[in-house]
């Protein structure tokens, strides 16, 4: 992964999401999978699901929501989260 990558949702699907505090549960009808994740990770996922998004755009989004957080922390968080989301095959850098 590098910062010029664009992220796509792995499978076209509706995503059901419910947020409680800093946690969200999401459900993907296409696979029947349920995930519990940090609300910020769910926000990233939903953004990518709405339209393919690049790293910089996601950074802008997170910076607006988490204004107290430093840029390097946001960078790290985003890198890790995107990797996680790819590991569980929710997002991809390759358009199918």
């Amino acid at each position: 992964m590098n910062s010029v990558d664009t992220f796509f949702i792995s499978h076209e699907t509706d995503i059901l999401c419910h947020q409680w505090g800093d946690e969200s549960v999401i459900y993907l009808p296409v696979s029947g999978e349920t995930h519990l994740m940090e609300a910020a990770a769910a926000e990233i996922l939903l953004t990518i699901a709405a339209a393919p998004t690049c790293f910089e755009q996601l950074k802008v989004l997170l910076t607006a929501t988490y204004q107290e957080t430093s840029e390097s922390e946001i960078n790290d968080y985003l890198t890790n989260t995107l990797q996680e989301l790819q590991n569980i095959d929710l997002v991809t850098t390759v358009r199918e």
Partner: protein, 362 residues
């Protein structure tokens, strides 16, 4: 094709839901409920009553069960689609073309037969020369062989038309990979190249195919008498009935095309039985007279037909209570033997059955 046969509430309803529903007594609904649940057709009843707007005639608590069945069917449908996507991913990566068979094919073609149906295994067809490679690709993507007993391994690989059944480790779903629609040892030998030639691609999934609608009918009819398990017998008849009705509406000269194709693929006999029992059990409208059937030389000798009628119609009765379960067990056993006889040279038949009988449940 006009012999009267004893109809149970389930076949009566399936034949003619519009006329039966308003007149069913509570007892008849009860029997329909039990018979359809026993034969895995409750989802189909849910689909039919909804589509034909018959829900108002149902006892209230039966409606609850139909809601339950409908939910089950839609989840099942969703998971088959997902499974197909995963298989596609695994095989397309290695550029192995494959065709979906039976249930999965009905789903991807949105065929009438896919509505209100429960799906078990997914069946796919690959070319013989791709078999090994397909197995490797699937194992790489999380499937594993379920039959580890060396005898079973040999049985499947040598005599059957499939790899030993595969299971997906993560999703616990079953996949059967075939390279022909009947085993190489069967007396009937449909030409698989002809079947591949007329197969049809599924848009959006290069390399993934389904059989042509007519071959799908023929495969469904063949499957009816060549598979070991008749628990699903009536469900298979319902499939075939739906395929026949849909084909005859959508395909010009359907019946003639069907007969000609059956002759070409040497599947006339299974087709004959399929048509016969669809008509007898479900009243499938078949625009062919008996004399026409005979002119295609597909009807079996009268005695053979009589024996098959007796065996088959009995096997199609849901075996819950009453209905002489012992006799029925025997009937199903004979059909089991018969379908194995179709699959394998006779001398091989006995050892496998014996092993099935003495081996503890796995």
């Amino acid at each position: 094709m006009h012999e009267p046969i004893q109809q149970n509430c389930l076949t009566r309803f399936l034949r003619n839901p519009d006329d039966e529903a308003p007149n069913f007594s509570l007892n008849e609904w009860q029997l329909l409920f039990r018979e359809s649940r026993r034969t895995n057709l409750l989802c189909r009843i849910a689909y039919l009553t909804k589509q034909k707007k018959l829900l108002g005639y149902l006892p209230e608590r039966l409606r609850e069960h139909l809601i339950s069945a409908e939910l089950l069917a839609s989840t099942n449908l969703r998971s088959v689609k997902w499974e197909v996507i995963q298989i596609y991913k695994a095989l397309s990566e290695s550029k192995i073309p494959f065709a979906l068979l039976k249930g999965a094919a009905y789903v991807m073609r949105q065929s009438e037969a896919s509505h209100g149906r429960l799906f078990g295994d997914v069946d796919i067809l690959v070319r013989k020369e791709h078999l090994k490679e397909a197995e490797r690709a699937l194992i790489k993507h999380g499937w594993f062989g379920t039959k580890i007993d060396p005898y079973d391994q040999k049985y499947y690989r040598t005599w059957m038309h499939e790899l030993p059944p595969l299971k997906n480790l993560k999703r616990q779903t079953d996949l059967d990979v075939h390279h022909t629609i009947l085993p190489p040892t069967a007396t009937i030998k449909p030409d698989i190249h002809k079947i591949w030639q007329s197969s049809e691609p599924i848009p959006g999934y290069p390399g993934m195919y389904v059989l042509s609608p007519i071959d799908m009918v023929l495969h469904s009819a063949t499957h009816l008498f060549h598979e070991g398990s008749f628990d699903q017998g009536l469900r298979d008849i319902v499939d075939l009935d739906a395929l026949l009705r849909e084909g005859s509406q959508k395909i010009p000269n359907f019946w003639q095309e069907l007969m000609a194709r059956a002759e070409l693929l040497e599947l006339s006999r299974p087709l004959y039985y399929g048509l016969r029992y669809c008509k007898l059990l479900l009243g499938t409208p078949i625009a062919l007279e008996d004399c026409e059937l005979r002119s295609y030389k597909i009807a079996p000798p009268a005695l053979t037909r009589l024996i098959m009628d007796k065996l088959l119609l009995k096997a199609m009765t849901p075996n819950y209570i009453g209905n002489k379960p012992r006799l029925l067990g025997l009937t199903q056993f004979i059909l089991f033997v018969r379908s194995h006889y179709l699959r394998m040279p006779l001398k091989l038949l006995i050892p496998h059955l014996l092993r099935k009988a003495i081996k503890p449940d796995t």
